[in-house]
Amino acid sequence: MSHSAAPHHKTSGLGSEAARRLRVWVLFLIPALLIYAVFMAFPLFNSMRLSFYTGQGLTPDHFVGLENYRELFTNPIWRDPFTNAFKNTCIFHLIHMAVQNTLGLLFATLLATPFRGRNIYRTIIFTPATLSVLVTGFLWTLILNPRWGMLNQMLEAVGLGAWAKPWLGDPDLALIVIALVSSWQWVGLPTMMFLAGLMTIPDELIEAARVDGASAWRIFWQIKLPLLKPVIGIVWILTFVGNFNAFDVVFAMAGTRGEPGYAADLLATFFYRTAIAGEHPVARPDMGIGAAVATCTFLTLLAGVSVWLILSRRRNGQT
């Protein structure tokens, strides 16, 4: 059009007002950006860089390329605990999905129908999420204690003494029990998210289906669940990130070695031992290997987030 004809006063003066604005925004952004970059983003990338170095002590300074990864994936000293921790973390995650998030969906569905006392249940279900994981872990450790634990006492009291078990001492049970305790604590989060999601479904939609003669069960499967897909996606990715980063609950209930015998070892506890505390039998922290473990965790998370982004984008594209 004809704007080419405009005289070019703009470059000279206009800069000052625009620059003034820009200066203000940059000034407002810098403190947050600086702290975030220096203490979160930069260490993350620098830690990954360290996975290509080796050396004793605090700062690995000897460049070894992919040697740390080769060690981690092939040397049985590292490989076995690493694959064990990875596998355990996956199981840990699956249990959360099966128990925590299914219960959450159930509670949310129940709470979505209006009845008196809803808010009390809501408050109760969410309460454990406000506790420290450490407190939860220790508390349940006491309750599950085989000798004086209250759970076994209770089972005996109701005549189910035969079911009493050393819950946290049994290598086949420990991981599952810990995952259940963690689900107990966090079930309030998916409950609230699903509830929020259910609240956005217009009543007319449900009513229309009811008029068409659909049963409550059918309505749940064919209307509510498909509409909840975005929330399901968010719940999944948050659970995923949380689980692959979980440390506190295992630390509290099974120590940094995921007792008994690494049965409850997760990636985070494994990382803690390799990088900070020193892994048996080396017994000395190896920052290089630790950085490689962290990088592997990061890549796993990245893969999960990518899957989530792709799936949710495809869904958005469809509708």
Binding site: S2, H3, A6, P7, H9, K10, L14, A18
Partner: protein, 369 residues
Amino acid sequence: MAEVVLKNVCKRFGDVVAVDDVNLTIADREFVVIVGPSGCGKTTILRMVAGLEEITGGEIRIGDRMVNDLAPKDRNIAMVFQSYALYPHMNVFNNIAYGLKMRKIPKPERESLISKAATILNIENLMHRKPGQLSGGQRQRVALGRAIVRDPDVFLFDEPLSNLDAKLRLQTRTELKKLHERLQATAIYVTHDQVEAMTMGNRIVVVNKGAIQQVGSPLTVYRHPANQFVAGFIGSPAMNFIPCRLRRKMDATVLDNGDFSIPLAPALGKRLQATGENEFIFGIRPEDIMENNHNTQLPVDYPSFKAGVHVIEPLGKEISIDINTGEHTMTALVSSDSKLRLNDTIEMVLNMDKSRIFRTTTGETIGPD
């Protein structure tokens, strides 16, 4: 007080040209109305004058200062926003006081200024309410109060009445005009409502697609629209546009629309021919299409034709009818005394004195004068 000058002002948002080479001079103490359809760039023009939007090119002057580089606070303007933009967490008093506080006006002076403005706007009893507790009309007054209390050089109004109901809008229109006379400040008033523009402006600026189409008094833009856009935008019901072909009929030049032909004065005919085009748009306002009866005192050679009545819409004083001539449908206004009924066939005549002819290619007005 101050004159406002926009010189070759442009604004682009990425690839979108929102304002395209606008030149406009608004005299000191003048009340100018900018009118145009929604999205034509009216708000953007105001925001550039206010300094809220950087200009991509050109120059804006307020008084004798070039303000391109000045921040809004240094331009001594006041703006009434479309949404009123009252501070929701402050009561009415503090809303009005905010601008004075920012300018460090001492408290006693501040209070007397505010109470004066409150009296003018009749909002004294609302001072302790929050915006959420006010009706639309009251909010609008508070927004006005916030503007006038600062005694600015220039008032900018961005569709200040668009959120009011019809009755209140009518009433506020006149009050605003009175207020302007009293304040004696330059005012730029933006609206998408052409009726509002016609009644409020001494001078109105018609804008379309970011460019000024015509500047003039309400009567000028109504009677002598510069182009087809202005002709169609101003006036309600809108002007009828009939595509025609230029033809020679015996000695005369006529515009033929397929249903009937419209004779042209020889000079006009020559002018149309000189363009080398032969498609034109014939424009006629509904009130200039009349029932052809003995009351009509039009020259006999004005074109008349028969048409069927398709739609009848009583407007009160008049009746708007849609008539069909075969190829074309037109809207006409007839007196409410008329005994017309649906599907009647009537004879109509065009008042050629008030008709307009536009070039199909550019839309510009080419005749009759």
